[in-house]
């Protein structure tokens, strides 16, 4: 699924949405959702290899495993939050999008607690 296919598919679904948005706006939104899902599922293999590369070099530089795991988890959460928030903005629901983003930030902060505590302890030891 190279970039040409994705580009053409994006343009075609944008045109289809314009056709349908006139009298059925809700189905128009669902076409963009379907496009987003299809493209991301097709890119899953490539994302997997990128993450394996990061994993490989992180373990080779013997950085602690807990940091890599939560870092990758945070990347995933950030992506899902962005996916949901942009879809809500597409449906012109900015308030809902803002709430989803706020919840995403809070949950990412929670996941990043071990990293924060270790950084703080290192800094405090230096002082």
């Amino acid at each position: 699924m190279d970039i040409i296919q994705i580009g053409v598919l994006g343009i075609v679904s944008a045109i289809l949405i314009l056709i349908i948005k006139a009298n059925r706006p809700e189905i128009g939104l669902q076409i963009s959702l379907a496009f987003g899902a299809i493209v991301m599922v097709s890119l899953a293999g490539k994302i997997g290899s990128i993450l394996d590369l990061i994993d490989l070099y992180m373990t080779r530089a013997n950085i602690d495993g807990i940091y890599i795991k939560s870092l990758i988890k945070i990347i995933g959460m950030a992506y899902i939050t962005e996916f949901a928030a942009e879809t809500c903005r597409d449906a012109s629901q900015n308030a809902i999008a803002a709430k989803v983003e706020l919840a995403g930030k809070i949950l990412i902060m929670i996941t990043a607690i071990p990293i924060i505590t270790s950084v703080m302890s290192v800094i405090l030891n230096m002082l």
Partner: protein, 64 residues
């Protein structure tokens, strides 16, 4: 790679809007509403299945 999902949804959308205007012209408004809802439910089921597949992939990838 199910590119045809997008075209299926578009076809359903166009069909529902044509049926809707047809039914409203012929005076049967409640049936027009019913076809709209039916089309919406069908499309929603297809899209939700795709979104669930996406989120499962992401959960597996990013080791949630």
């Amino acid at each position: 790679m199910d590119i045809d999902l997008i075209f299926r949804i578009a076809a359903i959308g166009i069909l529902v809007s044509v049926l809707n205007s047809l039914l409203t012209k012929s005076g049967r408004d409640e049936q027009a509403m019913m076809t709209t809802l039916a089309g919406l439910v069908v499309v929603l089921l297809m899209v939700v299945k795709e979104i669930a597949k996406l989120f499962d992939t992401i959960k597996a990838l990013f080791k949630f």
